[in-house]
Symmetry: C2
Amino acid sequence: MNAHAWTRELQVGEGFRLADVDPESKPGFSGGKAEGARALAAGLDDLNELQERLFAESRAGVAKDAVLLVLQAMDSAGKGGIVRHVVGGVDPQGVSLTAFKAPTDEERSHDFLWRIAKRLPEPGFIGVFDRSHYEDVLIGRVRGLAAPEEIEGRYAAINQFEADAAASGIRIVKVMLHISRDEQKERLMERLERPDKHWKYNPGDVDERLLWDEYMAAYQTVFERTSTEVAPWHVVPANAKWYARLAVQELLLAALEDIDPQWPKADFDVAAEKKRLAAS
Amino acid sequence: MNAHAWTRELQVGEGFRLADVDPESKPGFSGGKAEGARALAAGLDDLNELQERLFAESRAGVAKDAVLLVLQAMDSAGKGGIVRHVVGGVDPQGVSLTAFKAPTDEERSHDFLWRIAKRLPEPGFIGVFDRSHYEDVLIGRVRGLAAPEEIEGRYAAINQFEADAAASGIRIVKVMLHISRDEQKERLMERLERPDKHWKYNPGDVDERLLWDEYMAAYQTVFERTSTEVAPWHVVPANAKWYARLAVQELLLAALEDIDPQWPKADFDVAAEKKRLAAS
C-alpha cells in the first residue's frame, strides 16, 4: 500500500485562498504524466482490494462504514473522467453513484438535503455524488435561487448533516476539481468542434462561465464555512487530468485505509461445510 | 464492429432442452482462452462507444431505448464476474445495476413485479439485474414459497410485463449462466478453502445445491414458458468463465447495435456558440 500523506497538501485549512491555487500545479507529486499513469494503475489494485474487503463486510452484515466522494467543479473540469477512470476501476457492485440534476418539483417541495440524504451510501459501499447539496450554495447563491438568509442557513445545515453522516460511519471526501478559466475555454471549444462531443455542450455552460468570478467567490465561501474536521474539502488542481485522477484515487485510498476493512470471519463451521459440500 | 451472429446459437428456441447443453462447450466460438481474452478486449471498445452514444442520447433528451441484462444462475456460476468484467468495462454513469435479494416485508406486500418495475432502466441506460423476477418462479417453485396456482400465473404475468417493457423501448437480454454440478462443487470448495473467500460462501448454497435437479427442472419450465420473441432466453455455458464473459458481451453488443444509437445533433447554433465562447 502507498502512503497517501501527500494528499494532505490538497486539504483546505485555516486561511485557505482558492485564488492562490494554480490549476496547473501538481502538489505533492513530483513525477510526470507517465509516472502518474503508472501510479494510477498501481493504486487501482490497492483500491480494488480495499473496496472488495469493504463490500465483503457488507455482504457478511458486519460493515459499519462507507465512503462518500463528493465531486464539485465548474463545467468540463473532469468530474465525468473521475467517475469513468477512477470510480470505474472498481467493482460496480460496491459503488452507488448519483448524478444530481436540477431538482424536480417534488424535490423542491422538500428541504434541500432531503434528496441528498436518500442517496447516502449504505455501509460497505462507496457512494459518489456527481454534484451535490453544494449546488444549493453555489448556483443557488450565484443565481439567487434562494433568499440570502436561506442560503446563509444552509452552511450550518450542511455541517450538521455531514457531521451526522460521519458519525454514522461515512468517510466524507469532498473534492473540488479546479481548472483555469482558459483551460475551460479550450475544453468547451473542443466540444463545439467535435460533433461527437456536441451532446456534452450546453449553451448554459457559457452563461455560467460568464459568472466565473462569482462562482469562485461562492466556492471560497463554501470552503470557509464547510471545510470541517470530519468532512474537509480538498481542492484538486485539474488542468492536468492525469494528476486530478491520481489525486482523487489517493484520497479514496486514504479513506478506505482509514476504515481498514477486514475479510469477514466465517460465521459457519468451515470444516463441517467442507464435509457437507464434499458429500453433496 | 463484429458480427454477433454466433450468439444466436445460445438462444432458447422451440424444443430446447437444458439437459442437452454441455456447460463445458463454447458454442459459436472456435478460439481458445487467449483468443477469447483478445476478443473480449476488442469488443469492449465497441461496447464503450455504443454505450456512450446511447448515454449521449439520454443526456440530449432524445433517447428512447434502453438495454436490460437479466442474469440468472446457480450459485458461483459467475454473475459477479460478468458484472465486474463485462458491465464494469463501461462508464458507470450509464449503468444502473440492481442486485435483487430476498424480498423485504414491504416488497412482499406488493405484487412480485412491483419491485422489478421500479428498477427498469431509463432510456439511455444499460440496466443489469443480478437475479430478478425469475427468482419468483425458480426458488419460489422449488421451495414452494407460493402456491402452485400462483406460480403458474406468474409466467403469463412475466411475459406481459416484459412485452410492455420491450414495447417501451427496452431490449431485454435474458441470460442463464449454466455451470455443471461438478464445477459448482469445485468453486464452492475453493471459497471454503480461502479465508478471503469465506464471505462469498453461505451454508444455504449447499442446501440449494442438494436441489440441483429441481432447479434444472424449474429453469427448463422457465425457458419453455418465458422465452418469447421480444425477450428470448440465452443459455450460456459457463464452466469456462472467459467464454461466458465473451458471450454476454456479444449479447450486449448485439442489443446495442440493434438500437443503433447516434451522436445527438446539436440543438444549438454551433457557429454562434463558438463566437460566444471565444468572446467569453
